[in-house]
Amino acid sequence: MSRQEIRLAGSGGQGIILATVILAEAAIQAGMNTAQSQAYGPEARGGSCKAETLISDQTIGFTKVQNPTFLMALTQKSLDQYGPEVSENCLVLIDSGLSAPQDMKAKRIVALPILDTARTVVGKIQTANIVAVGCINDLLGITDAKTLEKAVLMHVPSGTEQLNIKALEEGFKLAEGHEEK
């Protein structure tokens, strides 16, 4: 897998940071190098938040994402904020409920009903981050389903395993038949 610079954005409380931690864990489990970090802020709950994971088969020097190869946004506010920053070649995953800002240069956009799937199919909106992890892995091909499942189980609270595995599977399904706009 070539170097991936992954940036996830949403609102505080959506589990954006956990999603990047799970992607980093998946990379480690798959034998790759990774660096995960997040922008903290006093607005940690409710405001826009972003978290990042670098994945590479090479040693990682600088640990921050500079030119995202992948951006996901789960809220309009975070998409408006971070969308225009990414380059033409960046793959952008957005929730179906959002619309891409006019000044966004990225050409490759995938819209999937992540929040809706978490709410209605999985039955818990809090699992949206895990649905997203399933989608992201499918889009980027970080690792196999089994390894990703292991990474999820290493980081979700005990008692929520079944729910989160269901969320992950729904994520896989969502991304399977995706179309780039």
Partner: protein, 377 residues
Amino acid sequence: MGKVVLMQGNEACVEGALVAGMRLFAGYPITPSTEIAEISAVRLPQEGGKFIQMEDEIASMACAIGGSVAGVKSMTATSGPGFSLKQENLGYAALAEIPLVVVDVQRMGPSTGMPTSPSQGDMMMARWGTHGDHPVIALCPSSVKETYDLIIRAFNLSERYRTPVLFMMDEIIGHLREGMELPELEEVEVIDRKTVKYPEPKRLPYHIKKGKLVPEMAPFGMGQRYNMTGLIHDESGFPTNSNEEAEKLIDRLMHKVSDNYADIVKCEQVGMDDADVAIFCYGGTMRAASSAMDEARKAGIKCGIFRPITIWPFPEKELLEAAKHVKRIIVAEHNYGQMVLEVERVVKDACRIDFLGRYNGTVITPDDLLAKIREEK
């Protein structure tokens, strides 16, 4: 090869400390060091140790001192505002010769500054923050793995030299998660202080046995009664106003560190064999430097890196030698200019010195460094 795990810098700090034998953490949580307290609170009881949250940073420093005097390897962790508060008791620990580790995960200051933003603005406070002349050992990790290994070394140095060791992290490394290989525990060197086993009447607590570096410690509570003080004292541990004793004590404290420079001071030099330009950096700044060095070399610029791992005592011998073989040194640090003063003191006219400082809460990027490297003469 050991198992590779995903770990955060602050987590590696705790896990390494536990391997080194830390069994007391006394602290007061503060961003970006909070995970160290949180994880210690979970992990210490599992290892038969104790975690205590004190009412503030002054008290947590005092508590760590107390734990160590009672014979338990102790650590406290904080960030800039708390590090300021710990300075008074830090001086006490230096004078009374109490081994312990103080972690400072640096954030943007001064004062409460920008709590979540990286900085390296406490480097001079580490050296000069507490009053009076005293020796300082301070270490700076630049990866999660190095945090783990180096915190073990911090404990070892504190035990060997009976002195507080400052562990100068920054938000970049503290909050970074990356993979690290766990060492085989039986291969890890752990040093314990020399202690008195049985109470001895009339024992002089600060008497140094022939051939020894520091006085043996009698853990409080084992039956040996003695005095410990922040006043200048003689071998008896009681205060003295003797000018001769004062000079003798300060000389001894300073020399126990300076005479062991070779054991204490470590630095890393990358690509320095043929370098024309060297980046001087430490801690989290190293990560931008290593990417910048790779890019510069791709562009045909012979770039190297000089990185102190031990920041105090300052690695002056190695730096001066390195400076003789390069045309320029670029000092990159997340402050308004602190370690650059040491570089200037040591290098003098051996080569040109440029400075790249960052003090707005953002991090120095490889591109920032490349621009500096390419700057017109």
